[in-house]
């Protein structure tokens, strides 16, 4: 480990064995998050140099498997792996054996046969990363599974908040919009609660899942509830997940009218975040998105260094036993 470790500036390698997989924020303890954010910070300094590539993960293989469309997440995982000198391979569902009806289990066994060090997976179904973890020996990183989790998004959001506000503990974050369909919201509520931030969910009742307060957040159906927040985190209206006739909201027009984040509703100095892609003019007014308080590009930049930190963390402290899944017999 010492010889591939090239970080300077007082960075110490992790003492605790890291989790073998990153599937849910629930897999992490507070000290894991703190370590990941510190690692990401040191990577951000290395990226200020003229030559941005580090030899840290030379000879390692990172496979990105994306069963859902993605710009930000897939590109930043790929770039993160490349910046660390890992070999990368990206597979998209379209044009692969998935088109021929191959099951996820068989795809996992096939990819596993190449002995990749990390498999990064995005899948429309909850539980897909666990399944891949069960059938391969790779470290699995969840890049979004259905409405369940998107842990690296939450980590990059924490990083952004820490960078901008200097702290996470005690910060009040209002998450506005379609919480029901949002893996970003779930991971963020867990991550923010873990780090001692206060979270208020704001949106129309059908888009706030019943019982979500148990995750350690408050719920309001009035947009006025964002007034007290230090950060207004705007969720995308996931129109593609809203079945015809489901009537989550009577119309987007009415949604925007009552819950859209507009300049009038944002207080000066309040920071605004959005995981992208944005529906300008629906959940977020373009004037808010383009204002200097908006941290949306900072989030994208944070995505790169946070994903570098995740890959680094998984691969540089040696093997630990699989904790995520029960071993199953494979026929």
């Amino acid at each position: 480990m010492g010889e591939i470790h090239v970080m300077r500036e007082g960075y110490l390698p992790p003492k605790q064995p890291p989790r073998r997989h990153l599937i849910s924020i629930g897999d992490l303890e507070r000290e894991d998050v703190e370590r990941l954010l510190a690692t990401a910070k040191s990577f951000s300094r290395s990226l200020e140099r003229e030559v941005k590539k580090l030899p840290t993960l030379r000879g390692r293989t990172v496979v990105n498997v994306f069963y859902e469309s993605s710009t930000r997440t897939s590109s930043s995982f790929e770039l993160a792996a490349k910046r660390l000198s890992a070999d990368t391979m990206s597979i998209k569902a379209a044009g692969s054996s998935v088109d021929k009806g191959e099951s996820l289990k068989d795809t996992a066994l096939t990819l596993g046969a190449y002995d990749p060090d990390v498999i990064v997976i995005r899948h429309p179904q909850i539980g897909a990363p666990e399944l891949v973890a069960r059938y391969t020996d790779a470290h699995v990183v969840n890049a979004g599974d259905g409405k369940h989790q998107h842990p690296t998004q939450a980590l990059l959001d924490l990083y952004t908040i820490q960078d901008e506000l200097g702290r996470i503990e005690g910060v009040h974050v209002a998450i506005v919009g379609d919480v029901l369909h949002s893996r970003v919201a779930r991971s963020n509520v867990q991550a923010l609660a873990l780090m001692g931030a206060k979270v208020t969910l704001v949106g129309p009742p059908p888009l706030i899942p019943r019982g979500i307060e148990a995750m350690g957040c408050e719920v309001s159906h009035e947009i006025g509830a964002i007034a007290d927040a230090d950060v207004v985190y705007v969720l995308r209206m996931q129109r593609e997940r809203m079945a015809e006739g489901a009537n989550y909201v009577p119309s987007l027009r009415e949604y925007t009218e009552r819950w859209g984040v507009t300049p009038e509703r944002v207080r000066p100095g309040q920071k605004v975040m959005h995981p992208g892609p944005m529906n300008r003019g629906v959940e977020i007014d373009p004037r808010v998105a383009d204002a200097s308080e908006a941290l949306i590009e900072a989030q994208v930049r944070a995505g790169l260094v946070v994903r570098m930190a995740v890959l680094y963390d998984l691969l540089t402290t040696g093997p630990v036993p699989v904790e995520a899944a029960e071993p199953l017999e494979v026929a």
């Binding site: 909850i126 369940h148 148990a214 995750m215 026929a331």
Partner: protein, 432 residues
């Protein structure tokens, strides 16, 4: 109404077991002798008459179990279960009779399909099987099946299990037809617009995991509707696999008013809560879903006080590759025939939530009565339907031990206390 392989009737003596028949009021250490498949003697120091002797010391001998809710998957799903494999699993689980659901391919909605199943059972069923027929053709919820003809052909009851009868007017017609068929209507209560897309119970766990919720009210609303219709038509009905507190409350209230309603509950709903879904194991995905701790408590209480009179496994075999997928893509259903007693002894009797006598009654006489079948009894002159139970034995649930063709059990890898040593069904030793 029950069909199985005819054949030998066994001779047997079970010596020195604790004979426990809550219906007959027997609880004593006794010998039981079976002559040619009929209980010929119950007493102390019975002569073996050259019969096979089974040592019962330290074991419990009880009326064998009746499972009112099994998916045998035939016709159409023979890769998952058959009459032969399903009844072998039933025998291993201590059952002397099971009822098979009609949501097969094709659906059991005509005398022809039912007749061929009955013929198959006569040559393949280790344990007698009753076949329920569909309430509506193709279980499409549009037209009634020829219920009178199906009843004449030997249908044990009627159900669209797997689906609700959505239209109230059609449900009413089916209840009216009970006057002709005299066979129980068994109802899968689910309001489909409320449960649409639901993967698990709607609550704090679904909110956290991101699954589309299947709220309790989707069940209890239909339970209330069906109880209202049954009251109006003064016809009896049986409620399948209850899962929600509100359903139990509605049933108890209706029974108090004289509605002839019986109900069943599964081992998994009695033993687990929605918390189990955190594992994302597709073997805890079932319909209705596992619900909250409060719902589970209401189900246990309902079973104990008799509001819910039957334990039903809802044994639902699925092919391995169908369940080896992400939770959301997996079909609903788990197996249960071979693990029901062990699971319930371990999770309900051992911790003191329900007395053993009550469990035995709810697994045997309760479901038999719900469908108008003769309850198994430990009594001289009765056909031998007996189960010998070891309540001390601990055993590990493993895939290779299953007689069922499928292994989608929520108990895989768990150690259970309480094991079936011997099963006698219709006078024949079918297990042990």
């Amino acid at each position: 109404m029950l069909y199985g392989k005819n054949g030998r009737k066994d001779d047997l003596v079970v010596r020195g077991a604790r004979v426990l028949d809550p219906v007959e009021g027997v609880d004593a250490v006794l010998d039981v002798r079976v002559d040619k498949g009929v209980i010929a003697g119950i007493g102390e120091g019975l002569d073996a008459n050259g019969h096979r002797v089974v040592e019962g010391a330290g074991l419990v001998l009880a009326p064998a179990f009746v499972d009112p809710h099994v998916h045998l998957r035939v016709p159409g799903g023979e890769d998952e279960e058959t009459i032969a494999s399903g009844t072998e699993a039933a025998a291993a689980g201590g059952y002397c009779a099971i009822l098979a659901m009609p949501n097969t391919d094709p659906v059991v909605d005509s005398a022809a399909v039912l007749g061929s199943l009955i013929e198959d059972a006569k040559t393949q069923a280790q344990v007698p099987v009753g076949f329920l027929a569909a309430i509506t053709r193709g279980q499409d919820g549009a037209e009634l099946t020829e219920m009178a003809e199906l009843a004449d052909q030997g249908a044990a009851g009627f159900t669209d299990d797997g689906r609700p009868v959505v239209a109230p007017a059609l449900m009413r017609r089916a209840l009216q037809y009970h006057g002709i068929t005299r066979r129980r209507l068994a109802l899968h209560c689910e309001e489909p617009t409320l449960s649409k897309g639901g993967q698990m119970h709607e609550g704090a766990v679904s909110a956290e995991l991101g699954f589309t919720g299947y709220p309790s009210v989707a069940e209890s609303l239909m339970v209330e509707r069906d109880l209202s219709l049954a009251a109006y038509e003064e016809a009896p009905l049986h409620l399948l696999h209850l899962s929600a507190r509100e359903s139990v409350d509605a049933l108890r209230a209706a029974q108090a008013k004289g509605v002839q309603a019986t109900a069943e509950v599964t081992p998994h709903h009695l033993c687990l809560t929605d918390d189990a879904v955190r594992s994302l194991d597709s073997n805890v995905k079932m319909n209705p879903p596992l619900r909250s701790a409060d719902d589970r408590a209401a189900l246990v209480k309902g079973l104990r006080d008799g509001t819910i009179g039957s334990v039903a496994t809802d044994h639902a075999p699925h092919a391995r590759h169908e369940k080896e997928v992400p939770f959301e893509a997996a079909p609903f259903g788990v197996t249960g025939l071979e693990t029901a007693f062990g699971a319930l002894y371990t999770h309900l009797v051992d911790p003191g939530l329900i007395p053993l006598e009550t469990l035995l009654e709810r697994m045997s006489a309760g479901p038999a009565r719900a469908y108008g079948l003769e309850p198994p009894r430990v009594a001289v002159g009765a056909q031998a339907n007996l189960v010998l139970l070891d309540t001390e034995a601990a055993w590990r649930v493993e895939e290779k031990g299953f007689r069922s063709r499928s292994a989608n059990s929520w108990l895989l890898g768990q150690t259970l206390r309480g094991q079936v040593r011997l099963t006698v069904a219709a006078g024949k030793v079918v297990h042990g």
